[in-house]
């Protein structure tokens, strides 16, 4: 397992460096003189000079990158162009809301997706299977942000069961935290749930026909353990792969959902920073998000070792 970890880290760490470089390089896409473009509307020469100074735009590109990157290594993501706030402080103050939303959505996706997929695989060809397959096709296609709007309409406006907007930190009030995140997490989790359900059904249909599943039944294990333990662990690798890909997509979706539900997360920060053209802030969000995705990929890769012992030893 340690060998696997070392091998994966040897891939992840260089990736982080390259990803950082890409994030920083985005500034070359700014048309014209970045200092002028980024200094806000109708800037006076002083503001432009301040931006130029702040971003070190007169230095050669690689030197600029090195300044920024050495800061990043020490946890300094730079300074907002328009407020005195440090990017790192802003990003980390927004992280809890986004992580809460993402984790809750992923839980919805995993629990719902695996449950539906397993049920469908256990009774192939029956009405359960057909309903599940149809729901999965629909779930992949229906836009998550639209689902969010419909959920607001049904459960926040018409039925007033859940609040429509806002966020309460987990540390403050766990129940309110959950109630506020329930609708956005459901909206965001349904599409990945559909993908995971498809993948689970496909994997489990094959695994349930395997001899070792019959062995498990012949041992006297109850069906829940035969399916949930013996079969599921063998069907897990493609499911986890899908889960990893969906997790990345889901993190992208938080931007829109946070906007709809007025959640003070990273997506919201990115959104406001884009309109303010606060470029260092956008870079900071992008870098943290990419690091999150790399972390998820690393965990997914490591989980292969758990699910398939052969990978661990190769």
């Amino acid at each position: 397992m340690l060998g696997l970890l070392a091998r994966r880290l040897a891939f992840t760490v260089p990736m982080l460096v390259v990803v950082s470089f890409c994030v920083f390089s985005l500034i070359v896409l700014v048309p014209g003189d970045p200092a002028v473009a980024l200094a806000g509307e109708n800037p006076d020469p002083e503001q432009i000079a301040a931006v130029r100074e702040r971003l070190g735009l007169d230095d050669p590109f690689l030197v600029q990158f090195w300044h920024w990157f050495s800061g990043v290594l020490q946890g300094d993501l730079g300074q907002s162009l328009f407020s005195s706030q440090s990017v790192a402080a802003a990003v980390f103050s927004r992280l809890p809301a986004t992580l809460s939303l993402a984790l809750l959505s992923l839980a919805v996706a995993l629990v719902l997706g695996v449950a539906v997929g397993v049920l469908a695989a256990m009774r192939p060809g029956t009405w359960i299977d057909r309903v599940a397959t149809f729901a999965a096709s629909l779930g992949v296609a229906v836009p998550y942000f639209w689902v969010g709007m419909i959920l607001v309409l049904l459960f926040a406006i018409n039925l007033t069961i859940f609040p429509a907007v806002g966020y309460v930190p987990l540390t403050e009030n766990p129940l309110q935290w959950f109630l506020h995140l329930f609708l956005p997490a459901t909206a965001l989790g349904l599409a990945p749930a559909a993908v995971i359900a498809r993948q689970t059904r496909a994997g489990m249909t094959g695994v349930l026909r395997e001899d070792y599943v019959r062995t498990a039944t012949a041992k006297g294990l109850p069906p829940a353990r035969v399916v949930g333990q013996h079969a599921l662990k063998n069907a897990a690798v493609p499911v986890v792969t899908a889960f990893g890909l969906e997790a990345s997509r889901l993190i992208g979706g938080t931007v829109v959902i946070e906007q709809l539900f007025a959640l003070p997360g990273l997506g919201n920060l990115a959104y406001t920073s884009v309109f303010a053209r606060d470029f260092p802030m956008v870079q900071g969000v992008l870098l943290v998000v990419a690091a999150l995705v790399l972390l998820i990929n690393l965990l997914v890769d490591l989980s292969y070792g758990y699910f398939n012992p052969r990978i661990r030893q190769s």
Binding site: M15, V18, V19, C22, V23, L26, I27, L29, V30, P31, S137, L138, V140, A141, V142, P143, F145, W146, M149, I150, V152, L153, I157, S248, R249, I251, G252, G253, V255, V256, Q259, L260, G267, A270, Y271, S273, V274, F275, R277, F279, V282, Q283, V285, L286, V289, A290, V293, L294, N297
Partner: protein, 304 residues
């Protein structure tokens, strides 16, 4: 379905009433696709959507920007089938015009992704070695960013607007087409008849054009179809946020965004554009599934 006849070249544009497909053992591509009911229905639905959008000026009852304040936020009426928005603009009319923008935007993003991803995939798969490694890692890096967030960051640099948004999406999607193309190229490259061609000195471009491209086409087509669905969703999301299509031009995403502001009074305003997006996305996905089944598991030997 695994019995492989020397498959006839699929006529992708053949009309539905075409004669029974050629090839005695394996029905032709079109026949196989048509026999897949969901995919075929999806194709028809999509064709209707595209035609209706293209013909918007002919069939729309109003002008897309025609404001009618007294009848603002109306529900379904004989005059306004699907109601009106906060400025009294006809929802049905705007859906048709918005469809043009949304579908075109998705097509543009996927076209860019194809133009970038496919040639590089061919190159990486055919040449291999360091080029392949470098391009592959570049793809890995791009894939590390969630599509929407990278698009937003690119828009942060270039400024909002449909074109910028779609170029951004195209770049973000390119690695997926790159991977598909590369994998298919590698597969063909390893075939004995290709090795033989290379050994007798056939120029690379000839081999790529005659042997590789025909085999790469199928997986790329499947991927393009699925990607159109994703691009449509992403465009809607960006426009919803005000980073894509800028009002007063309507796209389905723009309509959703402005409709959401009126959700308490007129929920219908978010209902219809959502349905339009869902129907189009579902169609692209089902067509993709149908293509995969109809084209799948078959290495087509290109005509000599």
């Amino acid at each position: 379905m695994t019995t492989t006849a020397p498959a006839a070249t699929p006529p992708p544009a053949a009309p539905p009433s075409s004669a029974p497909a050629p090839g005695p053992d394996r029905p032709g591509f079109w026949r196989r696709f048509r026999d897949n009911r969901p995919a075929f229905v999806a194709l028809v639905v999509l064709a209707v959507l595209v035609l209706a959008s293209l013909a918007a000026p002919l069939i729309a009852p109003y002008a897309p920007e025609a404001i009618d304040v007294p009848r603002r936020l109306s529900l379904s009426t004989p005059d306004h089938w699907l109601g009106t928005d906060s400025l009294g603009r006809d929802t049905f009319t705007r859906l048709l015009y918005a469809g043009r923008v949304s579908l075109m935007a998705a097509a543009l993003a996927v076209a860019i992704a194809t133009a970038v991803g496919v040639p590089l995939g061919l190159l990486a798969g055919y040449v291999g070695g360091k080029v392949d490694w470098l391009l592959g890692r570049a793809g890995d890096v791009l894939m590390t960013f969630p599509a929407i967030i990278l698009a937003i960051a690119i828009i942060a640099a270039t400024g909002p607007g449909l074109q910028n948004a779609m170029v951004a999406l195209g770049i973000v999607y390119a690695p997926r087409l790159f991977r598909v193309t590369r994998a298919a190229t590698l597969q063909v490259r390893a075939e004995t008849y290709v090795e033989a061609s290379i050994s007798i000195g056939t120029p690379a471009w000839k081999i790529i054009a005659r042997r590789v491209l025909p085999n790469v086409a199928s997986p790329v087509l499947v991927q393009v179809s699925v990607m159109l669905a994703a691009a449509l969703l992403a465009e809607a999301a960006l426009s919803l946020l005000g980073l894509g299509v800028v009002p007063p031009t309507a796209s389905w995403g723009v309509m959703l965004g402005s409709g959401f502001k009126e959700i308490r009074s007129t929920p219908l305003l978010v209902f219809w554009p959502g349905v339009a997006i869902a129907v189009a996305t579902l169609s692209f996905n089902l067509i993709g599934d149908g293509l995969r089944d109809a084209l799948g598991r078959r290495i087509r030997k290109a005509a000599p």
